[in-house]
Each structure stands twice: as C-alpha cells, then as structure tokens.
Amino acid sequence: MARKKIMFKDAINEAMRLEMERDESVIILGLDVAGSAGTEQERDSWGGVLGVTKGLYPLFPDRVIDTPISESAYVGAAVGASACGMRAVGELMFSDFMGVCFDQLYNQAAKFRYMFGGKAVTPVTIRTMIGAGFSAAAQHSQSPYSMFAHVPGLKSIIPSNPYDAKGLLAASIEDDDPCVFFEHKALYTMKGDVPEEHYTIPLGEANVVQEGKDVTIVALARMVQFAEKAAKKLAKDGIECTIIDPRTISPMDWNTIYSSVEKTGRLVVVDESYDLCGVASDICGHVSQNVFGALKAAPQMVTAPFTPTPFAANLEAAYLPDAKKIEAAIRKTME
C-alpha cells in the first residue's frame, strides 16, 4: 500500500492483469489491444489505442487477442465465448462506436438468461471510453450510458477515480452478468492511491464522497471532480454539500440517494450527457416519485446542452458542465 499514486489507466490495467492471473478463463478481445499483429515487429506495440492494455500481451500471449475492425463480430464473440465458460473482456475503443455492435449486447448478452429460462450465464465485460474535453468532436466524445442503463440484463459501471476503477473493473470481470464499463478518457491520467493487491468494489453501491446537510449532489465520472470544486466554493458561503457518486447506474443505489435527499431536501444531478432520457432526469424523476415529501426545492439537472459535441475548444468548454454551472444550480435550490 505504500507505493506511489498510480494513474487511472494503470489501475485498469492492473485489474485486468490480476484477473487474468487469478482466472484462466479471462481473455481480452479488441482492436490493437496488443498491437503489431501481422507485422514483423514485436507485439504489444500499442496495448490499446491509449495504451491501457499495454504489457498484458507478453504475460498472456494467448489471451490478449487482436481482432479485425469489426465490432459486431468481436464484441459478439466476447459475448459468445462468455456464454461458453470464458470471462471475456471486450474492448469497444470508444463508446461512440456502440452503434455498429449494439445488438450483440442489447438483444443477445442482456437477454440470454431471461429468454432461456434462467439457464444462461454470460459473464462478459465490455470496456469502453466516454467523455468530452479532448477536442475529439462529435463522434469520439459521447457518454451514451443511459442507453445501456435502459436495457434490463446489462449492468453499467462508471468509475470516477483510480481506486474505484480498479475495484469496480475487478468486480465487473468477476460478475456473472454482462457488464459495460465506461472509462472517461479525461480521467486516464488522474492519479490516486491504489492498493497493489486484488480487491473488488461491489456493483450497486454508491460512494458518498462527502457529506453535508444542505444539498445532495449526484455526479458521475469526471463530474465528481467538478462537483467537489463547486462544493468547496459553496462551503465558504456556509452551504454544505453531500456528494454522491453512484459508480454504477444499473444497478443504481437508490437507497443512498434517497436517504441523502431525505436529509438535505435538495438535489442537483450533474451529468456530462444530455438531459432528455438521460441519467440526470432519471434521478430527478425517481427522487421526485419516491422521496417527494422530503424535497424542499425543485431538483436541478446540470448536463450538456442538447447538441452534438462541438470541436472548437471554446465551444467544447461551453458545452461541458463545470463547477460554475453546478454552483449556480445549487444556489438555485437554496433560493
């Protein structure tokens, strides 16, 4: 435990390495997850497009498998292999690419168990990147996890820091249900304390980042940092915030959210995606249905505006939720 802080992406790498050591049935499938396939150079030249799987191929050369660019086939193969006793970790490079392979997750992996009368077990995990902030424009910046959360049979996991990333990915791989693991690309270089040894964090348990009596902020992935910043600012004015990071949105830890709102009476949900049929309105909707009596003010959403992600830096900055927007929303609940 005494080692230096490590990066979010290294925590993810470590989780995979430990799972592969522990369990022979864990395999990795994806584009350039090793790299150099078919060339005369040494393998492992890439380790995934941003190097997250780097170093795993030399350790497990049979189990780190580069695939052609054909997401339907290899994501489906991850699903199929997992229904046959493996625990495949499929890497869908950017979650923006879900549109070319969604069927294998939403109609296949998600439904096998139910359709087949409880006889199927499909412990597949799909790792995939989310998030804006990199001038990666409209097709490489999205966070479409609400679409996955709407599908019974799938679990959706969204870590916000290196410690959670490692523990939640280990839990996802060990979990017997299909898991989609969303990694915010802007968090990859975030550093934090991460135990070297194996550990898991249960899926479906929110993390209460801080407790305060006035308002409950629910925030995901990168938005947790922004929420903390806003909370710090408000603390100077005597406004005390609870910050809840659900960590998984399906299953969602409603109890933690509801009991916090029962204490604070105020809710602000921060999400990098859109409000329409997204996580923010979902949480506001569920809270208003289930702990209406506790609410002292209208719940507020802080989300991206309903536009594709723009390329230009100034537009992208305006597009993203930030501490200022969160602060404004919190103040609104205090009016």
Partner: protein
C-alpha cells in the same frame, strides 16, 4: 450407395429427421387452429441440413440457430417435449415459457438458441469457437443461417474473424431460396450460381451441396468438422434446400410458384430420399423406417397433449432470471 454409417446410426439420423418433420407439421396444424401465439417459423423440408450436420456433434460442440430454429434444436438433442411446451408458453417448456419459438435454447446440449435477430448467430459462434480453441478440447462451433442472413454484416465480419483467428467454426448456409419473399437471386447476386463463392473470397474452404441429400450434407460437414477439430480452421458449407411452409405461419406465400412445394414434397423430400436410399441399398428395412415413423408420430402427439395440459408459468417468473444478481 456407400456410407460408413452403421444401421443404428442411419436409423438414429432418420429418426431425428422424422422428429423434425412431425414436430413442424404438427405445429403448423396447431397454429392454424389459432391455439399458438407469436411468430412461428417452420423447418419442414430442410431436415437433412440440421441432421446431416449435427450427427457429427456432441454436447460440447456449440451451435447457434436462427428464427427457424426447431430443426436445429431437435437435431442437437433438445427434447421435443420441452420444445413443444415452450412453443405453447408453458412452465414445463425448455425455457420455462419465457422464450417461445424464437428463443428455444438449451445450453447443456450446446444449443445456444434460436434467435430473433437475423445474423446474430455468427459472432456468438465465433466466440464459442474461440472458447473451444483456447480450451483445446477439440470441440467446434457451428452456425446455421439463411440465404437472407448471408447478406448481414455480422456474417461477413464473422467469416473474416474466423479466418483471422483460425477458429474451429463451421458456417452452414441454408439456402432455401427465400428470405421472407425475397430470392437470393436478387439479394445475393454474387456473380455466380453459389453464395459459397462469396465466402471463398474470405479465405476459407467453401462448398455447395444438395441440402436435401442427407449424405451429401453429412459428408461435407464431416470433413469440415474433422478439419476444425484438428486445428484446420473454418469452413463454409452452402446447402441448397427448400422450406415447405411459409416464411412464418400465416404467410399466404403468393411469391411462390404454385407447384414448387408440391413437386418438392413428391420428388425431393429429404426423408423420402433417405429412406429410399437406405432401403434400396439394403441397409435398413422399410418396416424399420415405418416403425420409426409411428413412434415419432406418437411421441409428438403426446408432446402436444402434455403441452396443452401443462401449467402456465408462475407469475413470479416474470421478475426472475433477468440477472444472476442485481
């Protein structure tokens, strides 16, 4: 005729084909009465394909099926009693009544499911075959799919993936001349007579066989499966066949020539052809064939009765088995 199959094997294969035929013909009748719900796609006429392939397989080998899945299920050893109950939506069904005709599966038998999504099977079996390869247990994966499905991107991608990873996987194309009402002459104009030619371009052996000739299918499949078991990679087998009923039950089939099915039933029925071949070669007696026919008839009759009398699923099944844990 020449075959390496013992009399026992021959009778077993024939019985499977007869089970499929009887099962499907009976479902056709029941559907027409209005007693069966949902979308039902029947396999009558294509029996030699499923059975010709699956006679080479054991429970460790995996198959993926299509919307037209009953034949594959039976050929792979799924019990027809449970299947019939499933189609009736009963608690005693293979999937507890929650899947129905389009989703019958029995993973213990290596049957990974009928599938409502055209082209969903090939990636899944690529995965199953990958598992076989990594486990080095000599098992193989077989995906069945139609001429219509052969145009789906998932199918092409999976062929390429199977070649890339050298998977022990067999692609079995059931070319029955129609995808719903559309002919492959329109939708799979590959510049030749055979869709298999398109597959060959992906870099794997590809053959076209008479899918109504059990022995032709059996031989082609045997060669491919043996090669796959030995690490020789994927093969594509196109089987030309015909479906005797509509695309789904209720289809008026106005897109078909009047006598197409009648002629086929008379002159090209895979069961008749099989029976004729083995009896005239003196390998099996006509009486033995007839005995199988009778036994299967009775079995299906009983399966229908049991299904009719079986209870509906308990209501709490609605919420069960969405997840292992949640």
């Amino acid at each position: 005729m020449k075959t390496q199959l013992s009399k026992e094997d021959l009778l077993k294969a024939y019985r499977k084909m007869r089970e499929i035929r009887e099962f499907e013909d009976r479902v056709h009748v029941e559907f027409a009465k209005g007693t069966l719900p949902g979308f039902v796609h029947l396999y009558s006429g294509e029996e030699a394909v499923a059975v010709g392939v699956c006679e080479h397989l054991n429970d460790k080998d995996r198959i993926a099926s299509t919307h037209r899945g009953h034949g594959h299920c039976i050929a792979k050893g799924v019990e027809l009693e449970g299947m019939m109950a499933e189609i009736y939506g009963k608690k005693t069904g293979t999937c507890g009544g929650k899947g129905g005709s389009m989703h019958i599966a029995d993973l213990d038998k290596g049957m990974m499911g009928a599938n409502g999504i055209v082209g969903a099977g090939p990636p899944l079996i690529a995965g199953a075959s990958l598992a076989s390869k990594l486990r080095k247990d000599g098992s193989v994966g077989v995906v069945f799919f139609g001429d219509g499905a052969s145009n789906q991107g998932t199918n092409f991608e999976s062929m390429n993936l199977a070649v890339t990873l050298d998977l022990p996987m067999i692609f079995v194309l059931e070319n029955n001349g129609y995808a719903e009402s559309t002919s492959p002459k329109y939708s799979a104009k590959v510049g030749s007579e055979n869709i298999a030619d398109r597959a060959r371009g992906f870099g794997m052996p590809a053959v076209t066989v008479d899918g109504n000739d059990f022995f032709a299918v059996y031989e082609a499949a045997g060669e491919a499966i043996e090669r796959a078991r030995k690490g020789g990679g994927p093969t594509f087998i196109e089987c030309k066949t015909m479906r005797y009923f509509g695309h789904f039950e209720g289809d008026a089939q106005t897109y078909r020539p009047k006598n197409e099915v009648k002629d086929a039933r008379a002159n090209d029925c895979p069961l008749k052809r099989f029976a004729d071949a083995v009896t005239s070669a003196g390998l099996v007696d006509a009486a033995e064939i007839e005995a199988v026919d009778k036994e299967v008839l009775a079995q299906v009759e009983q399966a229908v009765k049991d299904a009719e009398n079986a209870p509906q699923p308990d209501l709490d099944a609605l919420m069960n088995d969405v997840y292992v844990s949640y």
